[in-house]
């Protein structure tokens, strides 16, 4: 089942409906519907290969909802879903952000997010989740960091998030021939995750 949750310090009525899918076969169709602005397909479709943890898409959604609800900020893109994809980006280039972090016709692992104001009388959680599942041809798996990391394309993440300085100090020490305490795999993932979150957080700043 997809996950339904609300984010801390945002109105609890704004709920995220999140589904993670692998072996997706209809990415080309989803992509074309997005381009056609078919409102049936108003979702944040994220290519899972640029994700490193569950916090990363949640943080993007947080920013999107935050900006949506703050009248002094507002959205930079057509809706809160496109804004979520844009919020994954460390830069202000909207077109690039769709291309890099949104789905492409060849995507096979996809994270889908639907954000809804549940105070709307027409809202039904069951219907929302049903629709979310119905539009994706693929296998739904649990939205966990463990699952997400199965799809991560490290080279792409490092390139898109401009992480060439990640772990600079240790590299410096290695170059000088010093012994550097090796990090566990988990520590490596954690460093990558917070580096990505940090780059996303700095996007807003001119």
């Amino acid at each position: 089942m997809p996950t339904t949750l609300s984010l801390v310090s945002l109105p609890p009525s704004h709920k995220l409906h999140i589904g993670l899918f692998e072996n997706v076969t209809n990415a080309a169709h989803l992509h074309s519907q997005l381009l056609a602005r078919n409102t049936e397909y108003e979702y944040a479709f994220i290519d899972a290969s640029i994700l490193v943890s569950n916090l990363q898409p949640l943080s993007a959604a947080f920013r999107a909802i935050h900006d949506l609800l703050d009248p002094t900020v507002g959205l930079r893109t057509p809706n809160v879903h496109s804004e979520t994809v844009f919020s994954l980006s460390p830069t202000h280039n909207i077109t690039d952000s769709y291309r890099r972090f949104g789905i492409s016709p060849s995507s096979t692992a996809i994270l889908v997010i639907k954000i809804l104001d549940t105070t709307n009388p027409e809202y039904s959680e069951a219907e929302t989740l049903k629709h979310l599942i119905s539009i994706i041809s693929g296998d739904e798996i649990e939205f966990t960091t463990e699952n997400i990391r199965r799809f991560t394309d490290l080279a792409k993440v490092k390139k898109y998030y401009k992480l060439k300085d990640l772990g600079y100090v240790d590299e410096l020490y290695k170059k000088k021939g010093r012994e550097v305490k090796s990090k566990s795999e988990e520590e490596g993932w954690r460093d990558l995750e917070v580096a990505v979150l940090g780059q996303m957080a700095l996007r807003s700043l001119v």
């Binding site: 949750l5 984010l7 801390v8 310090s9 916090l55 949640l58 943080s59 947080f62 920013r63 935050h66 703050d70 002094t72 900020v73 992480l163 300085d165 990640l166 772990g167 600079y168 100090v169 240790d170 410096l172 000088k176 566990s184 988990e186 460093d191 917070v194 580096a195 979150l197 940090g198 780059q199 957080a201 700095l202 807003s204 700043l205």
Partner: protein, 267 residues
């Protein structure tokens, strides 16, 4: 390995020096803001980011009514951005500090990783109170190891051309490490040193700025405890080992010590 006979229980000291942080956090509502500190410039809150299970720290800069609104907005925004950038630079490049989660530059608020643990200041006070005064025998004790860690983290910071600007023992935290790492070897510390509060920091390659960083820390140490001078020597040794250009900075530190942080000025 450290000698158990004449030392202390690290864990107990940590609990004693900051008991409220070890209370039952489940009973409190973590996503409400709890005001922790109201400083001259910033208010610091504990809260949660995204999920109730992810504690965070929010640093807010309330507007100052004494100054012109335009100037106030400009400064608040500028400082918020500058601090966020420094945090990100340090964490990315490998200097242990809180991870950057979210920046609201309109409100002047930074949301960052919550660091669980006491400050080095609180820890040292407790340790010294408990009678860990024989600072000449620091070798192989965890206190000595702690000083090495502090020297290393400052060297790392300076290696990436960042100066902290307010390097006191209150701005160095001890964070409990993941259990798996701690179990690998008994001699390893169970705590990691983390730098916090980059509000006065800046990117700088200046030897003078780096020397003043060390000088401010030295003063903070000496005012904590008269016997802390031996501890500080260990920090400098470790800094020397880990800095890429220690000689020029330490020479400058001598000069700063002689004249004080302040330069002599014409009247």
């Amino acid at each position: 390995m450290y000698d158990r006979d004449h030392t202390y229980e690290f864990e107990n000291i940590i609990k004693m020096s900051n008991p409220q942080l070890f209370g039952n956090t489940a009973s409190s509502k973590p996503f409400e803001r709890i005001l922790l500190k109201q400083g001259a410039e910033a208010h610091v809150y504990k809260s949660a980011y995204l999920l109730p299970t992810l504690p965070c720290l929010i640093k807010a800069r309330p507007s100052k009514t004494y100054r012109h609104t335009i100037l106030d907005v400009r400064l608040t925004k500028h400082r918020c951005i500058s601090e966020a950038r420094l945090l990100n630079r340090c964490r990315l490049m490998g200097v242990p500090c809180p991870a950057l989660y979210f920046v609201d530059d309109k409100q002047g608020e930074i949301t960052m990783e919550w660091i669980e643990g006491p400050s080095v200041r609180d820890f040292l006070n407790s340790a010294l109170e408990l009678g860990v005064e024989d600072t000449n025998e620091l070798d192989n004790t965890k206190l000595g190891k702690l000083m090495e860690d502090i020297g290393r983290i400052i060297a790392k910071l300076h290696n990436i051309e960042v100066v902290h600007g307010d390097l006191t023992t209150s701005n160095l935290m001890l964070r409990k490490l993941e259990q798996e790492t701690a179990d690998e070897c008994e001699a390893l510390p169970e705590y990691d040193v983390v730098l916090i509060d980059f509000g006065l920091g800046q990117v700088s390659a200046s030897d003078e700025d780096k020397a003043v960083d060390l000088y401010v820390l030295e003063r903070a140490f000496l005012s904590t405890h008269p016997k802390a001078s031996a501890l500080f020597r260990r920090i400098i040794e470790s800094y020397t080992d880990n800095s890429v250009s220690p000689a020029v900075v330490l020479r400058r530190l001598q000069e700063v010590r002689l004249r004080g942080r302040k330069k002599s000025m014409i009247g």
